[in-house]
Subunit: 207 residues, 2 copies
Amino acid sequence: MKYTSELIREAVEALSMLPGIGKKTAMRMVLFLAKQDDHKSLRLSQSITRMVEGLKECKVCYAYSDDELCGICSNPVRDQSTICVVESIRDLMAIEETQHYRGLYHVLGGLISPIEGLGPDQINIEGLLRRIQTSRPSELIMALRPSIEGDTTIYYISRQPGLEGIQLSQIARGISFGSDLEFADEFTLSRSLATRTPYSLKDKLPI
Amino acid sequence: MKYTSELIREAVEALSMLPGIGKKTAMRMVLFLAKQDDHKSLRLSQSITRMVEGLKECKVCYAYSDDELCGICSNPVRDQSTICVVESIRDLMAIEETQHYRGLYHVLGGLISPIEGLGPDQINIEGLLRRIQTSRPSELIMALRPSIEGDTTIYYISRQPGLEGIQLSQIARGISFGSDLEFADEFTLSRSLATRTPYSLKDKLPI
């Protein structure tokens, strides 16, 4: 692209490093920012600077946090006896969004994937095991995405010493609400048949 | 959305003010920035700050510029006798991209639109007329988008005093390369018939 301003060129190039943002979209953003009141546009750059410089990792669960301990780990109301193991902070947020889970989390920061060269040492399993030793939760919920990598990670964790007496569970797999059986893959469909649950009016989710 | 960090919440909200960016996309961007090396992410916020604080308008053509005069107006190699009038800096960039125009520009910053409450005084027509008085170009190319607003603007400018002896032209309207005649609107199709051009092998564009 041809720019009449070096400042615009730099801003476009910086913005187009963001995922899913090409040069044209970045240009639209830059022209939008140039048109806005200065203080509104500066609010954007300042909040990014503050975020980058101030962001920490919670030393217990590895979620992004403003302090040493994140808002969930430092909340005494949360159920301390359950740890939900997730791949990423985005999965954590998705579960929080449901408002149906009141326990703690542990963010692995990835799944074991030999293809991508990710071994158990590259993700936060060590910290999880240490944490289990000290806090002795009653249940460990593996909320990892159904995949070879997810299953490998669950298997690896399940084989570690020190998990005696702790209930290990994983999120249910089956057909999503609203989706068609005919389009489900065989693996999911056969599994949802095999792990069918007794029907009870009482259990019905309030949808 | 639920955030484990206030810093992340602020950055997400600032980014989601950008056009076409919702909360989910903003969140993906923020997590991307949080994962990057600090200096890469800070390059983004710093380039936005620099752009917002340093950006000027060229005092001759009203394009965004780093200095009093933009790179095009201050370039002695450009053909000073032709001024191409465009609606926005994006249109200017699109024309520059073609590499087929070597004259100067004038950015109106909008088109006359009574519906949107934009009159001749709200766009940079005054500056255009002043500029014409001093520089006396030989041609004024109206490269405005074919529309009621574009036509109104061209008509308004054409009626101003002081344009004697200056060739006023507008970009050709017709069927775009690669598009189907059957899907063209009647107005464009009938106009492209009425303003047909003599065929000559010599004139063929090198596509």
